[in-house]
């Protein structure tokens, strides 16, 4: 079996007539859906158009062309029935007094200005909606509606009908919302900036005062004003550093904030002493400058990607409530309240919520997100179903055997890998962290030596020299080098489609030496059709086949219809679909059967095709091959030169041969891997000393993503629901992965370079201060100079290196 590159399959030279759906811009496969002289790809899109048209909202289509999302997936009636339950809806309301209610819903489909216009005009469709407002960056719509006139369920269903299905998960009803970006930090930054600017202005005459150009009465005024302005800097803006240093000390640890706090306290007390004793103006300008620049660095580094979530576990993927059959009929039950022995209905496209036994129905379960298997599995009545599988087809009835948290898939989250907080682990392992403790010890030792020296020679100089030294040697330049390099790298990575959870990921990323890929959904995506037996079909035959497959929802039929393009509709007689076998019908007197070998009634030939088309007596075989993602093969071959590569697939090893041509070492291609096996594999490699980058896409990779040093989720739509990870990579940018790796690798060297520069400044400052020659003038020049040059070096260098690797800056 072989892989095919994208779009190289054409059944024959069929002239394709392309019509785009007026609503969503998808190519229309049939002409069945037209309204108002406009063509639509499906009933769903047409329905949205009708609603908007009738409410005078067609401006929607004028703002952007084809603004809608394909509505091909039909939403089951009653899907949102659980919102009628008071207990559930109360948890979702931001505010509710029985008459009016406010609810904020996450709408992943929001993508353009038309979306915004429509979502803010909901009151025109339903007058009981008072007001709706969209937060575009967060993709959250806040709806204020009259609760006594319209229920939450109807509001959600309205959103769903116009094509903006909100995403409601268990997380929304719990209190585990990720902490919002702290405004406190911004206030602190604003205050520090204000004080820093004014103190600099007031200190300026002081620098020149030695030359006698300023009258003396003003010098006193400026000093007092400086002192007043520095109070909020020291006690409010800098409080962050005090808190963090104290937290470190309580755990008997000297973190990077400890020497900073030491320097701040000494600078401040010495400045106060100098001002009140009339000795000089102190170093308040330097101190507020340091606080300001460090706060800027921290704020920029913590800039979060509002609409992305890096902390999802299986709960986000599972439904919020399920339909349980009880003696009083079917009721909605919260997933958390589900018990063993409950009988649950699972509809088409719904997730099996917990391990269960199939009681009734034709189960065709798609485990691709859970295990990575590409083929849906048929399950017979009485057999086990595992949590996380998605039903395709009719409604099934199942009986729960284990509670949700104890199910096979979800028990993965009980593994100890999920108990550790990766962000704080990364901080503990970071170079800055280990360097800072050495730094503090060296500094203290140096202070003692200086003090001893002056005690022997000139005891009056002990205090000035030691305090000057501690002020100058503040590791802020060191810290700034790391913060500014990292924050600029975060920005460059996100411009190139890689969104990181936080800056601590970069350092881990730079140490990677082993990359592990998942197969399904990561390296491969979608399918391609290849005709592998029989002569090419004629134009007429293509047309007949098209008329048969267009009404079938089976993936093979859809792939076939897509390849054939829009064709003339013909009357089909005796059309019928036999689940798990095929479709058949008669077009223009020709009997056509499409399906597996038994269904078309033939004997297996030499070619093992996935399905066959039989037109009267002629038989054509077709293979369905997984397609390698665009850029995947180039990425693999360029990564191969520098990294160990492995492949972990939950699928069977049918494609081993095809994949071997991409990987040099085929011992690292592992198939039939369960989610827990993937985790153990990563763990084993780490024990051998490897630093692992795991690239995956589904829940089945969740364990490996968590255990790895850097877990990257590949997503076709970055706002889609990705398992918990360190970074999200836009699947369209897979080709630049090797450049991103190179950039991450050089990040360490960039930070080191900035470190060296900052240490040079520190050495200059130290040599002056140990000799007790430090004047406020020199400190005032040295501090901003070192800070500014560090900022410029670290941002400039990272942008330059990224450009050299061909990345967007």
């Amino acid at each position: 079996m072989d892989f095919t590159e994208r779009n190289d399959f054409v059944l024959s030279e069929t002239p394709k007539q392309k019509v785009d759906c007026f609503h969503c811009g998808t190519a229309c496969l049939t002409k069945d859906f037209t309204f108002d002289g406009r063509s639509f790809c499906c009933d769903g899109c047409k329905l949205v158009y009708e609603i908007l048209n009738n409410n005078g909202l067609c401006d929607y289509y004028n703002i952007q062309q084809h603004p809608g999302l394909a509505q091909i997936k039909s939403i089951r009636n009653g899907k949102y029935g659980y919102l009628d339950e008071n207990a559930i809806s109360q948890k979702l309301f931001k505010f509710s007094d029985g008459k009016n209610a406010i609810v904020t819903l996450y709408v992943p489909g929001v993508h353009c200005s038309s979306c915004m216009w429509l979502l803010e005009n909901l009151h025109r469709i339903n007058t009981s909606i008072i007001d709706s407002r969209l937060n575009f960056s967060a993709k959250e719509v806040t709806i204020h509606f009259q609760q006594d006139k319209v229920s939450l369920r109807s509001v959600v269903e309205l959103l769903t009908t116009i094509g903006y299905e909100p995403y409601i998960s268990l997380d929304d009803s719990g209190n585990s919302k990720p902490p919002k970006f702290s405004k406190q930090k911004i206030y602190k930054l604003g205050v520090a900036g204000f004080c820093f600017g004014n103190i600099m202005m007031m200190s300026f005459p002081e620098y020149l005062a030695y030359h006698g150009t300023i009258e003396h009465q003003y010098v006193g005024l400026f000093r007092i004003l400086n002192l007043i302005l520095s109070i909020p800097v020291f006690f409010y803006s800098a409080s962050e550093f005090f808190v963090s240093a104290w937290a470190g000390l309580k755990q008997k640890m000297l973190n990077i904030d400890a020497p900073i706090v030491l320097a701040l306290i000494i600078t401040y007390s010495r400045s106060i002493y100098e001002i009140f004793s009339g000795l000089g103006g102190g170093y308040l300008d330097s101190m507020s400058g340091i606080v300001f620049f460090m706060l800027v660095g921290r704020v920029v580094q913590e800039r979060a990607y509002k609409s992305l979530s890096f902390h999802r576990d299986y709960k986000s993927y599972f439904p919020i409530a399920v339909s349980v059959v009880t003696s009083e009929g079917v009721v909605s039950k919260l997933l958390a309240d589900l018990n063993a022995k409950d009988v649950v209905l699972v509809h088409h496209e719904e997730i099996v919520p917990a391990d269960a036994i199939l009681l009734k129905g034709n189960a065709r379960i798609d485990y691709s997100f859970v295990t990575g298997e590409t083929e849906p599995v048929h399950v017979s009545e009485g057999a086990m179903l595992y949590a996380g599988g998605k039903q395709n087809g009719e409604q099934i009835t199942i009986q729960i055997t284990k509670p949700v948290a104890g199910s096979y898939l979800t028990s993965l989250w009980n593994h100890r890998a999920f108990k550790t907080d990766k962000a704080s682990k990364n901080i503990r392992e970071s170079v800055v962290h280990s360097l800072s403790s050495y730094f503090t010890y060296i500094l203290l030792a140096l202070a003692v030596v200086t003090a001893l020296y002056w005690a022997l020679h000139d005891p009056s100089k002990i205090l000035p020299s030691v305090s000057a030294m501690l002020i100058v040697a503040c590791p802020c330049a060191l810290l700034l080098a790391a913060t500014y390099t990292n924050s600029n790298l975060l920005r460059i990575f996100s411009n190139n489609g890689l969104f990181m959870r936080d800056a601590t990921v970069i350092e881990q990323f730079s140490k990677i030496n082993h990359i592990i890929f998942d197969k399904t959904g990561t390296l491969t995506q979608g399918v391609a059709l290849v005709q592998n037996s029989g002569i090419p079909m004629s134009l007429d035959e293509c047309n007949w086949v098209y008329n048969i497959v267009k009404s079938s929802k089976h993936p093979y039929s859809r792939a076939m219809a897509e390849n054939l393009g829009v064709q003339k509709a013909q009357k089909v007689e005796n059309w019928q679909e036999v689940v798990a076998n095929g479709v058949s019908g008669t077009v223009a007197g020709n009997e056509i059967r499409i399906g597996n070998i038994q269904f078309i009634g033939a004997v297996e030939g030499q070619h093992h095709s996935n399905f066959y088309v039989r037109i009267n007596d002629k038989i054509y075989g077709f293979s369905v091959l997984p397609q390698l993602r665009e850029g995947a093969s180039a990425t693999i071959s360029s990564l191969q030169q520098q990294y160990k590569l492995s492949l972990l697939s939950g699928d069977n090893d049918k494609q081993r041969k095809a994949l071997q041509s991409y990987f040099t070492d085929d011992r690292t291609l592992l198939f039939n891997q369960q989610p827990a096996d993937k985790l153990t594999y990563v763990e084993r490699c780490q024990k051998e000393g490897d630093s692992i980058l795991m690239l995956g896409d589904g829940l089945n990779d969740a364990g490996a993503l968590q255990q790895s040093n850097v877990g990257i989720t590949l997503a076709d739509d970055i706002n889609n629901f990705t398992p918990g990870c360190d970074a999200i990579l836009d699947a369209k940018r897979l080709a630049v992965l090797s450049s991103l790796c190179k950039l991450a690798r050089s990040s360490g060297r960039m930070i080191n370079f900035a470190f060296v520069v900052s240490i040079l400044y520190n050495l200059i400052g130290l040599t002056i201060s140990v000799q007790a020659k430090m004047s406020p003038m020199i400190a005032a020049i040295l501090m901003p100079l070192s800070t500014l040059s560090i900022v410029l070096i670290s941002t400039g260098l990272s942008a330059f290196v990224a450009k050299r690797f061909g990345l967007k800056v």
């Binding site: 108002d36 009708e50 609603i51 048209n53 009738n54 409410n55 005078g56 909202l57 067609c58 401006d59 703002i63 939403i75 009636n77 009653g78 200005s113 915004m116 216009w117 803010e120 025109r124 469709i125 339903n126 969209l134 937060n135 575009f136 960056s137 967060a138 109807s154 269903e157 309205l158 769903t160 009908t161 116009i162 405004k183 911004i186 206030y187 604003g190 205050v191 204000f194 600017g197 004014n198 202005m201 007031m202 009258e215 003003y218 005024l221 004003l225």
Partner: protein, 63 residues
């Protein structure tokens, strides 16, 4: 030169005014959605007429 006293006080007051304005703008969520506001101003509030009349329904999903 005593004008300098007044000027200094005035300059700090003006700067403080900007600080207050900055804090207010953050507090009133003006930085929460930076893309939205730039799009919102482009819409006019007229209601366009339906293209054709059709026997249409109210948007409701029935059970």
């Amino acid at each position: 030169m005593s004008a300098l006293y007044i000027l200094i006080i005035a300059s700090i007051v003006v700067a403080a005014g900007f600080l207050v304005a900055f804090i207010w703008s953050v507090k009133s969520n003006q930085y929460e959605d930076r893309e939205g506001a730039s799009l919102r101003m482009l819409y006019d509030n007229e209601i366009s007429k339906p293209h054709t009349e059709s026997k249409f329904f109210k948007p409701q999903i029935d059970e």
